[in-house]
């Protein structure tokens, strides 16, 4: 394999690697480690400019409970879940159906429709901003969780369809044909044959979309105004305005906001990476 496995190299190289790797990791993660440390610092550290050393006092409970008690952070997080989970479900449902149609059937406009989804997936979403905002206003969905989720569903459908279609297309065609010969209707083929087989793709996508949506900031800014529906990214930004120079609170808030996708990433790492690469390397 490439590069040469480290086990096959000389002793000093091996040692260099073994020592260098954790060091590199440390440097790489320094920003994140710093946030983690700062989130447990006391005011004293901050006043003394101790931003980068070890905390002199560990105020884990104080800082984190301060974050939850004095701000609507918990509410923001709830909003994020309320936006993210329906989006994942909605986008995947639509994408499974569309991917099935595009992956299994040969019809004239197949490629055109497919390209519509692929192309749409790549547009700079700023161009959608004004019309989508107007549309949400007209539908009475502006500044509501439903409005944000609906948009995310629609937009993510592009990517998910692209992904699902490629995945379904790679399933052996014979499976569908065999089911057809066995007497399955098209709906039955969808539910009994294709859906069970795309479970890995669904898993991969849901993890991926979860992080995408959870981390979305732009649309939260465009479609949400009030605290009542603001997801955590936008919320963090407004808290940042409130906590000027209170880095320990900003950090604690950031950590809390980052936690769900990070946990999901670690729990579902395999799926996550599969999602990133499977859909992608097909491009």
């Amino acid at each position: 394999m490439f590069p040469t496995p480290i086990i096959q190299t000389s002793r000093p190289t091996q040692w260099l690697y073994r020592v260098g790797l954790p060091l590199a990791l440390l440097v790489w993660l320094l920003p994140i480690i710093a946030v983690a440390f700062t989130s447990v610092r006391g005011q004293g550290d901050l006043a003394n400019g101790n931003y980068w050393g070890l905390p002199t006092e560990w105020r884990i409970l104080e800082n984190y409970s301060a974050v939850f008690q004095n701000t609507p952070l918990a509410h923001y997080i709830l909003n994020s879940f309320l936006v993210t989970i329906p989006t994942v479900i909605g986008a995947l449902t639509l994408a499974c159906m569309a991917g099935f149609a595009l992956g299994v059937y040969r019809f004239k406009l197949n490629l055109v429709v497919f390209f519509l989804f692929v192309g749409g997936n790549f547009v700079p979403f700023q161009i959608l901003m004004v019309p989508v905002r107007d549309l949400s206003l007209k539908l009475g969905l502006y500044d509501s969780i439903a409005g944000l989720a609906l948009f995310h569903i629609a937009f993510q459908t592009g990517f998910c369809t692209f992904f699902m279609r490629n995945f379904i297309r790679d399933l052996p065609r014979e499976l569908v044909e065999a089911a057809r010969v066995e007497g399955a209707s098209e709906i039955q083929i969808f539910f009994k044959v294709v859906l069970p087989l795309v479970r890995p793709a669904v898993a991969a996508l849901s993890v991926l979309i979860f992080t995408f949506i959870w981390n979305d900031y732009f649309w939260a800014t465009v479609l949400i105004q009030g605290n009542h529906a603001m997801p955590v990214t936008g919320g963090l930004k407004s808290l940042n305005g409130m906590w000027v120079a209170q880095w320990h609170l900003v950090s604690a808030g950031s950590i809390v906001a980052a936690l769900p996708p990070v946990l999901i990433f670690f729990a579902m790492q395999k799926h996550f990476i599969a999602g990133l690469t499977m859909g992608a390397t097909k491009g």
Binding site: P172, E174, L175, V181, G183
Partner: protein, 394 residues
Amino acid sequence: MARIQLEKVFKAYGDNPPVIRDVSLDIGTNEFCVFVGPSGCGKSTLLRMVAGLETINGGTLRIGGQPMNEVAPAQRGVAMVFQSYALFPHMTVFENMAFGLRLSKVAEPQIQKRVGDAARILQLEPFLQRLPKALSGGQRQRVAIGRAIVRQPGVFLFDEPLSNLDAALRVQTRFEIAKIHRDFGQASTIYVTHDQVEAMTLADRIVLLNSGPAVARDGSVAQFGAPLDLYHHPVNQFVAGFIGSPKMNFFAATLHSAGPELATVQLPTGETLQARVNAQALPAGAPITVGLRPEDAEVGTATQHVLRNVQWQERLGESTYLYLDSGITSDPWVVKAPGNTFARAGERVALSMPAQHLHVFDAQGLSMPRTIASHDLSLSVPASAMTPSTAASA
């Protein structure tokens, strides 16, 4: 109820030249029909048209007498076994086999029974609760067959069902398929393969398909007949070359004279040979191609023979292949000699080319009729061997 009739069936993908042209076949109830032909000739296409997985662009398909062109696959009463097995990977063996029955709302006890029976026949009982991925290739193949059997269809369709198996398993499964066909009295079978041995050993009748320009000229069917018919009486040079392994040796010659039973041909090297064919349709001096199967040639002077140099030999133990300089083109003549034969490169040997084994083709590749009766070519086990006798001693 499961006779399959094709009438002038036609198929072209999009604007491409037709893949299938002018195919008319009548496959009887309980007949085992094998489609062979070079890769890409349309075997799978034709089979899939019968299954209903591919639309028919022209002509009529009847199954059991009913026109089927527009009928959905599930309603045709056919079951199909795919080259890739196409087992549903998320269902157990049992569920795979019961899938079609459940869809057609067969009662559960009935399903249990039918699947159980099939599993017994196919020795799949220990695996019923496993997923396909926990099975070996051969077992998967049997599940695929089982899924076809349980629906008790009128027609079995197989698309190269053995090509993913290794040699030993292939032989064994071939056997099983033949047995199943024999056991299911009513069903007809269509079986696609590109392996001649399978075709020869399984088929009641073989359909050999043309490919390339020959399709436009002669239609898709090159020859439709019993296996040994194709072996002994190929209608043209393509069939002669396709059936038999190693391939028949072909060489250019001219027709010297032709009688009703015997024709005399002259090789470019000057030698003349006699062939038991009726070539009276051709004028003397016509350019022809002569064919001789490697296994029909013999080293020695037993019959009419020519002398040739050995280029190379391959000794397999069981037999030895000699590659002789034909003296005509750079392609050597291949001769299958007994295993104990040994020849050095450059040695000159006599090659016996019996008249009754020579094939003659005209310039268009059409066969001249051979003037030997079929029974000359196909003999029963010698009578002597059938006299009862006790264990022999040396």
